[in-house]
């Protein structure tokens, strides 16, 4: 089953029943997700839930010894999972680009930013008519990421602050005009002011260039600020997929997604309403029987410990993998 929103733009990236294994450990398990063209989609979960592995698999760059043991990822209908090395070199950066976690450490310290851009342009000679045009486009991107155009080209990364480096990394990722940009924890390790700036910049890129954005985060505050659609992962599986409003305000919600939202310390929220999630993320090699969130769930019933709840979608494409939440759905459907 492919979970997606009907009526959105055409599917750009389809994840079809994907399982990624590291030996016996399954970091991503039977995940299906469709990202429509022009969407801003968030992958959310705690450390070790498989969200970064899923993001890497979108570009077929799962680090060894990880392998895609079943399913595939398609980009505009073409299988990314089965692409040759040569095809992948064309595909990455030019179709889907990625900004890694702590991207401020990804710049080469002994080359100026300009030299690094020139390297990319010379290894992708077809991207622009002339190299000069490529450089001009990069200057335009620097404006979009709100960096002074002249000041960065000749700089080494050591002369830039953490927030500036992050923005340079985003501009470099956008250089070959990819249709989609994948970002792994784009705001972690930045202070709140730089976080706010990165949020505004990514919204700008989305609005002015129409770039599809897929970002990985553990911060539901960032999700509320940026995402249109949200996929919540827990212990390798998707537990809820829906629009940002369905995730935050829906009546039928996964208890884990709800708990994640309630755990955010926020300036606007009364401390009495903030609750931590009891227990710990399970060991992926020693999973509880039935629902993986069961042992930490306040709504758990005996039935939850028997079999894994399936991801059930309503008419709008809002999917939840929870027996208790999905009972509401059956009632709603049966009621009239």
């Amino acid at each position: 089953m492919t979970v997606g929103r009907e009526g959105a733009g055409p599917a750009l990236i389809e994840v079809d029943n994907l399982t990624v294994s590291f030996g016996r450990l399954r970091a991503v398990e039977e995940v299906s997700l469709t990202v429509a063209e022009g969407e801003v989609c968030a992958l959310v979960g705690e450390s070790g839930c498989g969200k970064s592995t899923l993001a890497y698999s979108l570009l077929s760059m799962v680090p060894p010894p990880g392998v895609v043991s079943s399913g595939e990822v398609r980009y505009r209908g073409r299988s990314v999972t089965r692409m040759s090395r040569k095809q992948l070199n064309e595909f990455r950066a030019a179709d889907v680009a990625i900004v890694f976690q702590a991207a401020m450490n990804a710049l080469n310290p002994v080359l100026t930013v300009g030299r690094q851009v020139e390297h990319i342009l010379s290894s992708h000679p077809d991207a622009f008519a002339t190299a000069g045009e490529g450089r001009e486009y990069f200057e335009r991107l620097l404006q979009l990421v709100r960096l002074p155009p002249g000041g960065v080209w000749g700089s080494y990364e050591s002369r830039l602050s953490g927030g500036m480096k992050q923005r340079v990394a985003i501009a470099i990722a956008m250089l070959l005009r990819p249709s989609a940009l994948v970002l792994d924890e784009p705001t972690t390790a930045l202070d709140v002011l730089n976080q706010r700036l990165v949020i505004d910049i990514l919204r700008d890129l989305h609005e002015t260039l129409g770039t599809t954005i897929i970002f990985v985060t553990h911060d539901l505050g960032l999700v509320a600020e940026m995402a249109e659609r949200v996929a919540v992962m827990y212990a390798g599986r998707l537990v809820e997929v829906g629009t940002v409003d369905e995730i935050f305000y829906g009546s039928r919600r996964h208890p884990y997604a709800k708990a994640l939202i309630e755990a955010i310390p926020s300036v606007v929220r009364d401390e009495a309403l903030i609750k931590s999630i009891p227990g710990q993320v399970p060991n992926l090699l020693d999973l509880p029987r039935g629902c993986r969130f069961g042992p930490r769930c306040e709504l758990a019933r005996p039935a939850c410990a028997e079999a894994e709840p399936p991801l059930v979608s309503d008419r709008d494409g809002h999917s939840v993998a929870c027996y208790v939440a999905n009972e509401m759905l059956e009632r709603a459907v049966v009621a009239p």
Binding site: E46, S47, V192, L193, L197, H218, D219, P265
Partner: protein, 350 residues
């Protein structure tokens, strides 16, 4: 009673190219059992202030006093007591644990050094500590190495190591910023429970007002900008009615976990201009004048002093035009009216 005081501390690191000191005539008082949060962006000097408090950095000017005595002028015995009583929890639990030491060795070293336990009584104390921070109190766990622990477990271990020494003041420097959001509240709750149990005082350093609001309730907040204290006051008062434009900027930047508020703010175009986020401090006049949306000519020439402001006693601000700063509620207003969210994610009208 004042446990620790920082008076008129100014510090420059010898390697700094810029003329601007990392700490510029900073004053701070920590009462016994109280919480003081220090808030500011990366590079504002908040970590340097923490290092001055725990005695890792000797400031060029000014004094740090512990129980009324200058910490750089203590007898050997007094110094040992100060070192034990003032502890620090660092930001990065991956860097602050020795990877070659087991949990047992990590916890035991300080306890033995300060003669809190003997080799014979150590075991039971270790189990008690592990239990108090919510870690597994088993012999098998004592044999683990840091790489076998998750980020949250490591930070709990760091906290156990700190609390074992029964400190009176803990400097928590971004103690939860490396943790998953879902783990933060649990670790903050742990620190708060230690506070009531041990009558601890905290200097809580953070850039995130969301976390600060949760931790510093009932305490005080000090806002720093490039080495200068620009505003200080009771926590709730300062958050609801900021008087300095920089405080407002920091408050306004925290992501709000409410998509409706986020969308409304987006349409109102309250975008932070990049130059406000990354601009250098001003060398003349008010340090914030380069980045301040309300700055006037006066601000670029005269340095505003830190003076009492507003109705509540002890709320001080260093700004010539504090009345221009909007209330936080004015920005987040809509969420405060319609309780759209069933869990009601809003400022209560207390």
């Amino acid at each position: 009673m004042t446990l620790l005081s920082v008076s008129d501390v100014t510090h420059r690191y010898p390697i700094t190219v810029s003329e601007i000191p990392v700490l510029n005539r900073v004053n701070l008082e920590v009462e016994e059992g109280s919480v003081v949060a220090v808030v500011g962006e990366s590079g504002c000097g908040k970590t340097s202030l923490g290092r001055v408090i725990v005695g890792l950095v000797r400031p060029l000017e000014g004094e740090v006093r512990y129980e009324g005595k200058d910490i750089w002028d203590l007898s050997k015995k007094e110094h040992a007591a100060y070192r034990r009583a003032v502890q620090v929890v660092h930001q990065d639990p991956y860097a602050s644990l020795n990877p070659g030491l087991t949990v047992e060795e990590t916890l035991k070293t300080g306890l033995l050094y300060h003669h809190i336990v003997t080799r014979r009584t150590a075991r039971s104390e270790l189990f008690r500590l592990l239990e108090s921070v919510g870690l597994e109190a088993t012999p098998a766990f004592l044999r683990r190495y840091p790489h076998q622990l998750s980020g949250g477990q490591r930070q709990r271990l760091v906290i156990a190591r700190t609390m074992g020494l029964r400190p009176r003041l803990v400097v928590a420097d971004e103690a939860v910023s490396m943790l998953d959001v879902s783990m933060r509240v649990a670790v903050l709750d742990l620190l708060l429970s230690m506070r009531s149990e041990l009558n601890l005082a905290y200097v809580f350093i953070s850039h995130d007002f969301g976390v600060v609001r949760y931790f510093a309730r009932g305490g005080r907040i000090v806002v720093m900008f490039f080495g200068v204290v620009v505003e200080e006051g009771p926590a709730e008062q300062l958050i609801r009615h900021p008087r300095h434009p920089y405080t407002f900027l920091l408050l306004d930047a925290v992501p709000v976990p409410d998509p409706k508020v986020a969308r409304r703010r987006r349409t109102e175009a309250t975008k932070v201009a990049a130059e406000r986020v990354t601009g250098e401090p001003s060398a003349t006049g008010c340090v914030f004048s380069n980045r301040c949306p309300y700055a006037e000519d006066k601000c670029r020439v005269d340095t505003p002093p830190l003076v009492d402001s507003g109705p509540q006693h002890g709320h001080r601000v260093a700004c010539w035009f504090p009345d221009k700063v909007p209330d936080l509620q004015a920005v987040l207003g809509a969420s405060a009216e319609g309780r759209a969210m069933p869990e009601g994610a809003v400022l209560s009208g207390r």
